[in-house]
């Protein structure tokens, strides 16, 4: 009887202690997990004026809170991609000499269609639509 009572008290004390530890830790762990802050939905941005971009050049422009790469491949040939490398999240750049998109972090190359040419990137770059409105270059998310 005394032994059973002792076991019960041990369980109650142990359970109560464990529950209190969980009740201390749970809010702390939840506190460390960052709340989801929704991105302002950006579907279209103005990248600048046509004359700001010379042929065979690329420029990083803001697409909401993310970088986008706008390339003027020829006089009237424009391309735009998400500038975030699909390998490990670095920001890519247009390499004029090779006429390709290059990620300096792990030497990944994409062609001007955003497809992987060489190196470790596993997927193509996300492509955006480019339109020229008057002398303004506009980048938008593809439907």
């Amino acid at each position: 009887m005394a032994e059973e009572r002792r076991t019960l008290v041990r369980w109650l004390l142990g359970g109560g202690f464990s529950a209190s530890v969980v009740s201390f830790l749970y809010p702390a762990i939840r506190f460390m997990s960052p709340p989801a802050v929704p991105d302002a939905a950006v579907n279209e941005v103005s990248a600048g004026r046509v004359q700001d971009f010379k042929p065979n050049s690329g420029k990083i422009v803001k697409f909401g809170s993310r970088p986008a790469l706008l390339i003027r491949a020829g006089d009237s040939e424009w391309r735009a991609y998400s500038a975030i490398c699909t390998h490990l999240n670095c920001t890519v750049q247009f390499q004029e000499s090779s006429h390709q998109i290059w990620c300096a972090c792990h030497n990944g190359f994409y062609d001007l269609n955003g497809k992987v040419v060489s190196g470790p990137p596993p997927n193509p770059l996300e492509e955006y639509a480019v339109r020229v409105r008057g002398d303004e270059v506009v980048i938008s998310r593809r439907a």
Binding site: V61, K62, R66, C90, T91, V92, C103, C105, H106
Partner: protein, 358 residues
């Protein structure tokens, strides 16, 4: 000189309250084995010394550093250009961080090659490896704090590697970044890790590690056949030699910090491309270069995932070294362990060099 009554009374007063005679007794009996590899015993202490330097210079830097993307770079710039000896304090902090990781690696490999991890020192090995992991965590979190271009992209890559871990990766990366991308939330979070969480954990684990070393004593390598090898008293003989080693480390540290002040680089711009020639700190160069070499797909697997899985397996295998180092009969596989140590050391050295130069 004979002790005066006053001195005796004073010693008695402290003795009554602190019981220092027990410590004196312990120190008087503590011995350190003397053999051809005794010199490697000093590297644990040097690592501890560099950690203390880190804490002291870190506290000084805290007086001026401001952890926000708008101010972090400028506050470090202020420290190195306007604050008296600011350049030196920051340089000592950066150099001692790197030297500490170097001496921690030397200490770890000396434990491997002297087979000091073997029974009953498995927990000492595990606590040491955990300390090395914390030291790398210090390096990774501290690297971002100046908010420069290189550190920004290194953090993007590092946290994205965490994201590739199956099942928990997404949550882990969000936890590290404090959001979906590397930004202000990441900087304040890394600052918190760097100055509070990691020092707290390291201090606790360091005490455990040192207590275990005291509990089991210094290990003698298996090739020392003598059952009672020559010993030297820990105090004052070994202690004074260790102090000389610390003094030497201080000299090296001071010279490096003064002659090669740590560069601040260019301020991070989240809307700029990663610059050519970007690479992480030297102790992350080997995995960095390996990831560069792995193609986008290997058979049906993504190369990146395969690489991270490989590093994970390698880490688990290394952590469990004391447990696979003995066979079923309890005999030590010294050749296996030495071979594994040489192979790992060769991989780290060669790939770090390739990562630096290519």
């Amino acid at each position: 000189m004979p002790e005066t009554d006053t001195e005796r009374t004073r010693q008695g007063w402290f003795e009554e309250r602190l019981g220092l005679s027990a410590l004196r007794e312990f120190l008087a009996h503590k011995q350190v084995p003397l053999h051809s590899a005794t010199i490697w015993y000093y590297f644990g202490g040097i690592t501890l010394f560099l950690f203390v330097i880190q804490v002291l210079t870190g506290i000084l830097l805290l007086l001026y550093y401001r952890p926000s993307p708008a101010e972090a770079y400028e506050s470090v710039q202020f420290i190195v250009t306007r604050v008296e000896f600011g350049w030196l304090i920051r340089s000592v902090h950066s150099w001692s961080a790197n030297l500490m990781i170097l001496t921690a690696f030397i200490h770890m490999f000396s434990v491997v090659f002297l087979h000091a991890y073997r029974k009953p020192r498995e927990l000492t090995w595990l606590s040491g490896i955990a300390l090395l992991g914390l030291a790398l965590g210090f390096g990774f979190s501290g690297y971002l704090l100046p908010w420069n271009e290189v550190s920004y992209f290194a953090t993007k890559v590092g946290t994205d590697m965490a994201a590739a871990v199956p099942v928990i990766g997404g949550g882990l990366a969000r936890f590290l970044r404090g959001g979906d991308d590397v930004g202000g939330a990441t900087l304040t979070r890394f600052f918190g890790f760097h100055v509070a969480v990691l020092p707290g954990l390291t201090t606790m684990l360091l005490l455990v590690h040192l207590a275990l070393v005291q509990r089991t004593g210094m290990s003698t390598p298996p090739w020392v056949k003598d059952a009672n090898p020559p010993q030297m008293p820990f105090f004052p003989n070994f202690f004074l030699r260790e102090m000389m080693a610390w003094y030497g480390a201080m000299g090296v540290l001071g010279s490096l910090a003064a002659l090669f002040p740590w560069d601040l680089g260019v301020k991070a711009d989240p809307f700029a491309s990663a610059p050519a020639g970007i690479r992480p700190e030297w102790y992350f160069l080997a995995p960095f270069y390996t990831l560069k070499l792995i193609p986008s797909h290997v058979w049906v697997f993504e190369g990146e995932l395969l690489g991270i899985f490989g590093f994970g397996l390698l880490a688990v295998w290394w952590v469990l070294l004391p447990f696979w180092a003995t066979n079923r009969e309890g005999l030590l596989r010294t050749r296996w362990v030495t071979g594994a140590g040489v192979a790992l050391l060769a991989y780290l050295t060669v790939f770090s060099m390739l990562g630096y130069w290519r």
